[in-house]
Symmetry: C2
Subunit: 218 residues, 2 copies
């Protein structure tokens, strides 16, 4: 059984690989907020355990065993997040920190019961996919709102970033997943958008915001 620390490294490696494919040691050390030598020694350990492909001075990548372990931790994290929102009534900006701890709970019945109570959800409160019991993830490729054209009607389905500040910003603007949005106009100068939310409210969204909103074109 991997220690809590090892689990955090695996998760980090998985999420880094997700965007980059290959992972550098310095990226890992930044993501984990630890020194490079510490990351290096953990890399050696994970390699010895057969969880990580590694050659000296070469970029890192998880083995399929490593990927599976990582995905199962992420599964626990995301299941927890949705449980916290749906069952316990937390806001989507409150759940990350708690899930960061509960993901390390060692109890299959606990997470199976959660899964069942939530009717086997496939996405978390931020629109990220929940890996299945075998660690398989179904990746849906979503469109960035920032790539959409004037006149398009879209549905907000996920976020490409879920920092506390961003979630609070969306809360303040009453923007949530599932919401239908129509693009009224796009400012050429800064690519900011004027959008119509759910056919009622008009909102201005800067490029910084629209590029973090993932949508499904209707």
């Amino acid at each position: 059984m991997a220690s809590q620390t090892e689990e955090n490294y695996l998760k980090s490696l998985f999420l880094l690989a997700d965007t980059n494919g290959e992972i550098s040691l310095s990226d890992l050390s930044k993501a984990m907020e630890i020194s490079i030598p510490t990351a290096n020694s953990m890399v050696n350990k994970l390699h010895t355990k057969g969880l990580l492909k590694y050659k000296k001075y070469k970029p890192l990548s998880l083995t399929s065993k490593g990927k599976k372990e990582a995905a199962l931790i992420i599964r626990k994290h995301r299941l927890t997040e949705i449980f916290l929102v749906e069952v316990m009534g937390f806001g989507w900006e409150q759940v990350h920190e708690i899930a960061e701890q509960i993901e390390h709970i060692n109890s299959s019945v606990f997470f199976e019961r959660m899964d069942e109570l939530l009717s086997f959800p496939t996405i978390d409160p931020h629109g990220s996919p929940i890996p299945d019991k075998n660690g398989k993830i179904v990746w849906k490729s979503h469109e960035n709102l920032s790539n959409c054209k004037v006149g398009q009607k879209v549905k907000l389905v996920a976020l490409s970033q879920s920092s506390d500040e961003f979630l609070k910003f969306l809360n303040a603007k009453n923007i949530c997943l599932g919401m239908k949005i129509e693009i009224l106009s796009i400012e050429v100068f800064d690519q900011s958008m004027l959008v119509l939310c759910e056919g009622l409210r008009k909102e201005h969204l800067s490029f910084i915001v629209s590029e973090k909103l993932l949508v499904e074109v209707l």
Copy 2:
């Protein structure tokens, strides 16, 4: 903030003191399943932190600060147990192991939300009292069923022991907290009892069992 390990020692010390008043090092090491020298070094640490009263070769006792910290961990444990039973649908024999891990989650909102969802419970699924937010416990002194007399009608309110095996035994006999019991007869030879459960079923209870059942005389 106390480490998870320290929290486990505090909890153990609290529960040992509960029965004995003063605690010996060897009791602590048995309860924690660690060597005596390891217990000794942790005792020194907790003493340095002002959580434990300690003089060389003398018995141990928690300071009021130590008692409060311990009670708050036990609060998290027992709240979790009742949450697991009431909200998640686990059996009372399944919850200890999970609560043993969740009690270390560091998040006041999480446990406050639990408390609220459960309408501020005061006893856990095994009848043990839940310390309040300040670490105060209201101790109700219950009667042992084994001390009751023939003809008495009592209500089962708590267990003095909650091992897995005992809980499964009670499940098999359909005995649960809140149940009303009438004592029909007591065998002089082995003090086993014949009781009437909820006015319907007759059950034989050995002394081993009846001394672990805590009741309120009606």
